[in-house]
Symmetry: C2
Subunit: 216 residues, 2 copies
């Protein structure tokens, strides 16, 4: 969902990369309120980014994974608005913000690429707003599954069989549902023969049906 880089982009950014950071499950890459010092490019593992409202309620905004570049929201004020935590052990490359600024000044390609990535994220968030504002639970969850499938496919993994790295509560927060609703929907999908789910191991049995559900 966040800006995703292809290989050419990653080469482009090679000179920006300062440190590779190994993270363990539960480690925070960024906490809301932190000063912008680094962007991060996810190399391995699945993360969760979320915002916290005045009332203390949280909304998961994305599940960044391999190839995703994160931290754009901090460009605005120089302060991060989202927190980013690792859902499993992984790696992330830190890109120094000041390095980025310096390189962007001289490289039109870098600035262009960053703007495109940000624009892409804008579009994604608009799609999320559509989901949250107009769809019902069934559609939301089926869209989520299809999207996860597409992401794993793009990374060269099986699009029909993968392990969810987030809890039901995380999924619920992402989709604007409660964890019980997510659990019930999974059960219903399984009963309908659309998926096979055991804890977090997931098989998509009928993607076409899921796709239809998601666009109804």
């Amino acid at each position: 969902m966040p800006g995703t880089l292809d290989e050419a982009d990653q080469r482009l950014l090679n000179e920006l990369i300062v440190t590779k950071r190994r993270v363990r499950r539960g480690d925070y890459l960024v906490r809301a309120g932190d000063k912008l010092e680094m962007f991060f490019l996810v190399k391995a593992g699945v993360f969760k980014s979320f915002v916290v409202g005045d009332a203390g309620d949280t909304q998961v905004t994305a599940f960044p994974m391999q190839g995703d570049l994160i931290g754009f929201d901090a460009l605005d004020t120089g302060t991060h608005h989202t927190s980013i935590v690792a859902l499993e052990d992984g790696d992330a490359c830190a890109i120094s913000y000041s390095d980025f600024e310096r390189v962007a000044r001289s490289s039109a390609a870098v600035q262009r690429r960053f703007m495109h990535l940000m624009s892409h994220e804008l579009v994604n968030e608009q799609r999320m707003m559509l989901l949250l504002g107009t769809m019902r639970g069934e559609q939301r969850l089926s869209r989520f599954l299809i999207e996860q499938s597409a992401r794993y496919l793009r990374l060269g993994y099986s699009p029909t069989e993968f392990v969810l790295r987030m809890t039901r509560e995380d999924i619920g927060s992402f989709l604007g549902l409660k964890l019980e609703t997510v659990s019930r929907l999974f059960s219903r999908f399984q009963q309908a023969g659309l998926i096979k789910i055991d804890q977090r191991s997931l098989k998509l049995l009928d993607i076409e049906a899921l796709r239809q559900l998601s666009t109804q």
Copy 2:
């Protein structure tokens, strides 16, 4: 909500402005699917930008008004993903995309400013996701009113008395509610003495109470 420019920014962009365009209520600045040729800077009037899903349902994503720069979502693919329509007569400055690219290449200030504006929009959309994902009708509408108030204040208008330019349905779509729910909430707010509303003429009688409602 979209990237908002202060006066210094606007001077910065002066050389980019190609044409000033007068629009009438109902005119489209942009239709989803259009090629990116122009950004628009709103000079007068209130607009509505929205996305349309596969199922045909629409989600209002913003109500751009004076000082707002719109069209960022098109940088990604070169194609607009949102449609933008005027809710009342107004003016918008068109900024040619190719001009922008040329100027951005030479002016670090311009590119920086654009990135900041996009980042700001990202943060706004994340806040919207929080609203749509976690809040109930009462909170959503009170937040909407407070935000409208703040925007009019920033433009030098009364923050407590203004005219809504959008229909109940538009508000509902923006907030993920149905128009009847919006109407009922307005009535309830009025009965509680928080607002005075007659058609689209609105007075905020107790902003503090509204603020509390929105953060509960």
